[in-house]
């Protein structure tokens, strides 16, 4: 990391738990990390260790119990809902563990949705969406509805949707879970490319050893609710 480059994402001693009283579950405590432009990061850990929760905190979708998350110099906590949504739309691409495509929209429209929300003209949005669909190998399925797509295809559409606005921070929750090795490799290439394009970063929850070998890895230990950053 070059010293003059401001870090893209800074997390300081994050703690998060759910519920209250006896039902209280501490998911993790004291997670700190700094992500600079160009970084590729993998998060691994057993189920329930808080991987998804951590990504939600990074994306400003949830508020930490302690600590803070600063994206590009701005603390999520200081943003009101509307600007928070605007920042998220412009700077964060999110791939959900469960693709979460809108069932009423075609693949192309799902991918173009972030552009539409940003006020792009319908024609332009659709054209850009098709370009990205092409990059995930789904141009031929542009007009298909999600229910007619396979699990892996849905996942790739979701990835296309996450990268279509060229966000600086890509947060992906097991994006290759339902993909074969070839497609997984292509998805990783795409994520790495998009991350590089605007000097951005990608943080990926994955159990893929290939990806884990290529990048710095955070391992959440779970159970004790403590975490360990490698």
């Amino acid at each position: 990391m070059a010293p003059e480059a401001a870090p893209l994402l800074v997390a300081e001693s994050l703690a998060k738990g759910f519920g209250s009283g006896d039902a209280r579950v501490e998911v993790f405590r004291g997670v700190s990390l700094t992500v600079a432009g160009g970084d590729l990061l993998a998060i691994t850990g057993p189920s329930g260790s808080g991987k998804s929760t951590l990504l939600h905190l990074f994306a400003g979708l949830e508020t930490p119990d302690a600590g803070r998350v600063v994206l590009d110099g701005v603390d999520w906590a200081v943003l009101a809902p509307a600007p928070r949504a605007a920042v998220r739309g412009a700077s964060v691409g999110f791939v959900f563990q469960f693709h979460h495509l809108l069932p009423e929209l075609t693949a192309e429209e799902n991918v173009a949705l972030p552009l539409f929300l940003a006020g792009r003209k319908e024609e332009d949005g659709r054209r850009e969406a098709r370009e990205v669909l092409d990059r995930v190998g789904l141009l031929g399925r542009a007009t298909a509805f999600p229910r007619t797509l396979s699990g892996g295809e849905r996942q790739r559409v979701a990835i296309a949707r996450a990268v279509v606005r060229r966000p600086r921070l890509l947060l992906c929750d097991e994006p290759t879970g339902s993909l074969d090795a070839t497609h997984a490799a292509r998805v990783f290439e795409l994520l790495a490319e998009v991350a590089k394009e605007r000097a951005g970063a990608a943080i990926v929850v994955t159990h893929d050893p290939e990806w884990a070998r290529r990048c710095a890895t955070i391992k959440l230990l779970g159970e004790e609710g403590l975490s360990d950053v490698i």
Partner: protein
């Protein structure tokens, strides 16, 4: 226009989605029927009012010109000529109005009487004739309130005339009056061959009676008093206006109640699409935008319902009018079937208010939906 784009997709998809479909259909039908009822009622009211108005305009002079501060015009022809020259005036006729005693045998009763050029013979209102037991063909004596000088001193002017007919009683908006030829009236009230107590003026456009009055004042100066047909029938005109407002408000209640269904539509939609709302907010949609999506969906149902209602209501009204499907006792109303007149202005007002209301109603659950935290909805497949 992302909100419209998504709302459209949701509504189209609701054909397959039983929950949303049923609620949306109920809201649509309710609103359509409510709006149709409002359009038909207003058309009926407008029909009646047009009828009443045209009868008023036929019976009542559009402008009544009377002398200010004296009893009668004497320099008649000049006034008449000046009136006829005022732009927009179609016809001018002098009248002589006054009070007389009508006597037959030993009975006598006071009566309002008016002389007009076109009247032939003496015509009494049935209300005037009945107490005296007068029937057409009988001869009555009219004793004027004016007198003439005789060698014996002042004696009342008297005229003996044959009753040529009885007129149906006046509609209640004015007193019963008898009519007789203008010359006879002039004699009774001691006016010269050109005298008149007033002029009845008919205008090309009676709805612009105020402007006509102003033009007459400009031409004749302050020596005359003007009464427009609306002022002559003030009570009736006000009642008509109030009736319209009250009916609109009363029937609009139906629309208001029907519109409440849209809250249910919008709420069910928002509840079944909570995950989509969350996804939208992750993709950069502000709570406002999310709210707009659901409000637009409810509002579109409202617009469609309103449109269908307007078309249905207008069609029903036009058919009822064309084929005279609502019969009325003709002798009571002076028409054989209920008149329907669809006023475009009424329709616009109904449509605008109904659509506005739809958006207001739909926005309440939409706002609640937009305030839900996103992550809750995103956990799980």
């Amino acid at each position: 226009m992302i909100s419209f784009f998504l709302a459209k997709r949701y509504l189209l998809a609701s054909r397959r989605d039983a929950q949303v479909g049923v609620v949306a259909l109920a809201a649509f039908l309710g609103l359509a029927l409510g709006v149709a009822a409002l359009v038909v009622s207003l058309a009926l009211l407008a029909g009646f009012q047009t009828h009443v108005r045209s009868r008023l305009l036929a019976e009542t002079p559009h402008l009544l010109v009377t002398p200010a501060g004296r009893d009668a015009f004497h320099d008649v022809d000049r006034i008449g000529t000046k009136l006829a020259a005022v732009p927009g005036v179609v016809s001018v006729s002098p009248i002589v109005r006054g009070r007389v005693w009508v006597s037959m045998g030993r009975d006598a009763a006071p009566a309002e009487i008016v002389g007009r050029e076109k009247t032939k013979g003496l015509v009494l209102d049935v209300l005037q004739a009945r107490p005296l037991g007068i029937v057409p063909g009988e001869t009555v004596t009219l004793v004027s309130s004016r007198s003439r000088l005789s060698p014996l001193g002042p004696v009342p002017i008297v005229s003996t005339l044959k009753v040529t007919g009885l007129a149906p009683s006046a509609t209640g908006r004015r007193a019963a009056e008898a009519s007789l030829p203008l010359d006879e009236a002039r004699r009774l009230f001691a006016l010269g061959p050109d005298g008149a107590t007033g002029y009845e003026v008919f205008l090309k456009d009676p709805s612009r009676a105020e402007a006509g009055a102003a033009a007459v004042i400009a031409a004749l100066g302050p020596s005359v008093t003007l009464t427009t047909w609306e002022e002559q029938n003030r009570a009736l005109v006000l009642a008509l206006r109030l009736e319209r407002f009250v009916l609109f408000a009363a029937v609009f209640l139906i629309v208001i109640v029907a519109g409440l269904n849209l809250a249910a539509t919008s709420a069910v939609l928002a509840a079944t699409r909570a995950r989509d709302a969350a996804v939208l907010s992750v993709l950069g949609a502000s709570p406002k935008t999310v709210e707009k999506v659901f409000r637009t969906a409810g509002g579109c149902v409202g617009m469609a319902g309103t449109l269908a209602g307007v078309i249905l209501g207008a069609a029903v009204a036009v058919l009822l009018e064309k084929f005279g499907l609502v019969p009325l006792p003709a002798q009571l109303y002076g028409m054989s079937h209920a008149p329907f007149h669809v006023d475009p202005l009424d329709v616009c007002a109904v449509a605008t208010l109904s659509i506005l209301w739809a958006f207001v109603v739909a926005s309440v659950p939409a706002r609640t939906a937009a305030r839900q935290p996103a992550v809750e909805a995103l956990r799980g497949a």
